[in-house]
Symmetry: C2
Subunit: 458 residues, 2 copies
């Protein structure tokens, strides 16, 4: 590829699009970025109160690549574990990993703003806002955009096109019409609604700040993540229909009775509960999978555009950022040989996206239900114990996903193997009291380890 | 619904759209039908040589409703079983059901033509051809069509809209953009290509006419269905990539060597093999699933638009026709209460469509591979024997799907139960020789039956 051909279009200046733009710009590409929304720098966006994300190891790696760790860390709040709120108001804390390990509450808007600002410092980056992609000619590599302010239509083309345009991607929509493009969108029967716990009068946090708060109630749950201004962003995940569901929450009485019944300790902290509930939309939860992610070695999908997942493992942004890290590694390895890069990316990455999609769906059950289950808590304790005893041989599933760079598909497979291990361990007599010193447990573990090793060498 | 409101738009005048139009017209609806293609009556279509279909019990029921059994039967050829072509040229015949049972080779074009002609006899039916649906406003029930000949755009609306517009449905496409619409399209890694075995010089059949011919070759297969003119329409199902695949069949030498190796007995019967191979496209095989099938009690999907399946169970058209039969039954039951009709249809039917989609995928393995497997053939024989002995208690899966109106989902569940039964039976000593008189087999069968009955009463 001649230097003059090193041109790329990135559709979408969200988290993944903006980060990708920086990485492409660093490698000398002329990048034109088209974003449907307006420039968030222009609308006086302030970080801290918008939707928040849980940044973990995979996300930080990409943040390092972009060179903005310090800026992001300054406004990130470490969440060292889950704080469970029981019905009676009592609390239980479960650490996420070892001492020192945490996931970080980060403002989506703040992070996006930082990335756009850095992207804009490159001479070889052109940012275009209010540009809605209205037509995609995949074979010609030609895109039509409509200017949301003027209504004018612009046509652009490039030898490389990256669709980072989110779960409702226009680029993917065009690929879906091509033969042999596998695609699925699946919605949970749950919706979610954001609510707020504001800072206390003196500007402090009303609950422990270094935790992700969960009110697990079996079929549904409320969660809360801390913001730097002392507030918490809460999200209620609830079925659309059925006994306890959004369809029955339409009046002050219904909403207050529901919160009184299930989240009594949260009510005093939520002065704007009713207003929030009425004003904020009930949003849906979709899982999107597709394959292949590339078209004719010219068009590539990344992030939510190719793998939107439910938020319950906190890996949506992290997996999208990992896409960028992996793609950057392939550019490092293969230069501008895009057929090789796109094939490699599109062949290896979808199975990992599939795995984290599955894991995220599983984790919903864990968060809303199992975290209050004694058997589950016991398993967590024994897993932590095994990891401490055998740090190289045993890493709990949550840690593989959250605190490592192990491919998601490998983590999922290992997690299934661990399920088999714990089925045996939890069947041991009096295991709830004698797990710390138990020769039978040790023997089961050694057997399990040996059979795994044998499998690996076959 | 007032009589003046009994208006409906049907998008698509293919098999399902045309049949649905007849059923709606019979119940007094004013029906406007919009079809993307031209009027097949005008282009001098002659039945007999186009793509053929296997009509079975579910299809016939709908044909009866349309009142055209005699016309269709006149050009239908009974296929009483599978004729397997072995590599050495020897043949094996497996009957599909009991004596007298058969599936019927029918011309798709001929059938479609008949249905359109009948639809056009109704004063309350308006047929519009060359009308491509370009825009769908679901909430307004408003459709835009572009006339393929004049380029003119027409806008139509109706209180009822039926999307019978096939696997690439424009109506479904619009529904896909709505929240909580689950959708998947999945392609097999196989393509298919149509080929021909013409009639012999004297106008007769070159092979047994009352059979569906299969050349099962493990990973791929050739099949042939008889036409009334003495020819056979053949279809080669082959992987796109890999050792034996379309990617290696590009020259005369490659194609002939491939046929010589795998289908030597077919070559002498196919004088136009090379021409057919080059001229006919390699088409793909998609399974489409979605849910819900209705929108706002105003828009309903039927046939391939909501459930395109692979052709290996011969149930694509049959299941689409059964949609029409069921919908007609609901109209009989609920009059013009469309909210009730659409809810009932959309709640009960997708699970049956899902089941036949799964069964069709399973049957590909059976056709290309298992039909040449002695264990499989033995199972077929024992199944037929059990059915003969216990006609009310045991119906083989193939018969449930093909020769009954048992809901597909129930047939699939029953098929899985039968798998468990045969796992036990085929493990019996010397079963391959002593299955006809075997007390152990009888005892296993009685146990199986008893446990099923117990389950049913729980």
């Amino acid at each position: 590829m001649a230097t003059s051909d090193k041109k790329a279009i990135v559709v979408g200046a969200g988290l993944v699009g903006a980060l990708l733009t920086i990485l492409l710009a660093r490698r000398g590409y002329q990048v034109e970025v088209f974003e449907r929304r307006g420039d968030m720098r222009g609308v006086g966006f302030k970080g801290g109160r918008s939707i928040n994300l849980a940044m973990s190891t995979r996300g930080w790696k990409a943040i390092d690549k972009a060179g903005i760790r310090k800026k992001i860390e300054a406004n990130a709040i470490a969440m060292k574990g889950r704080m469970m709120h029981n019905l009676d108001g009592s609390l239980n804390f479960q650490p996420y990993g070892k001492t020192g390990q945490a996931i970080y509450s980060v403002s989506r808007g703040g992070l996006n703003l930082e990335l756009i600002e850095i992207a804009d410092t490159f001479d070889n980056v052109q940012l275009h806002f209010h540009q809605k992609c209205t037509q995609v000619a995949l074979d010609e590599g030609e895109l039509h955009f409509e200017d949301g302010k003027t209504g004018a239509t612009n046509v652009h083309d490039a030898p490389l096109i990256f669709g980072a345009d989110g779960a409702f991607s226009a680029i993917r929509s065009a690929m879906q019409r091509k033969s042999r493009f596998n695609y699925s969108q699946h919605y949970l029967d749950y919706g979610y609604k954001e609510l707020t716990i504001p800072a206390s009068a003196n500007g402090g946090f009303q609950m422990e700040q270094h935790a992700l708060h969960i009110w697990p109630r079996g079929k549904f749950m409320l969660i809360a993540l801390p913001n730097p201004d002392g507030s918490f962003t809460c999200t209620l995940f609830l079925p659309y229909e059925g006994e306890d569901s959004f369809e029955h929450l339409h009046t002050d009485t219904e909403i207050l009775a529901f919160f009184q019944k299930y989240f009594p300790d949260a009510i005093p902290m939520m002065p704007d509960l009713l207003e929030d509930f009425y004003q904020n939309p009930t949003a849906s939860l979709v899982t999107i999978r597709c394959n292949p992610w590339q078209y004719q070695h010219r068009v590539l999908l990344l992030g939510d555009a190719s793998h939107a997942i439910v938020p319950f493992y906190g890996q949506g942004m992290n997996s999208g950022f990992e896409d960028c890290t992996i793609l950057d590694g392939l550019m490092e390895q293969h230069g501008a040989d895009w057929p090789t890069i796109m094939d490699a990316f599109s062949e290896s990455r979808p199975k990992d996206a599939d795995a984290i999609a599955d894991l995220a769906l599983r984790n919903f059950v864990e968060m809303r239900d199992l975290v209050a289950d004694p058997q589950f808590l016991l398993r967590k304790k024994i897993a932590a114990h095994l990891h401490q005893q055998h740090p190289d041989a045993f890493l709990p599933l949550y840690s593989m996903v959250t605190f490592s760079h192990i491919p998601y598909s490998q983590a999922l497979a290992e997690g299934k193997a661990q399920d088999q291990l714990f089925e045996q361990i939890l069947a041991l007599e009096n295991i709830e009291t004698n797990w710390q010193h138990n020769p039978k447990l040790d023997s089961i573990f050694q057997h399990w380890l040996a059979s795994k090793k044998q499998l690996a060498t076959v």
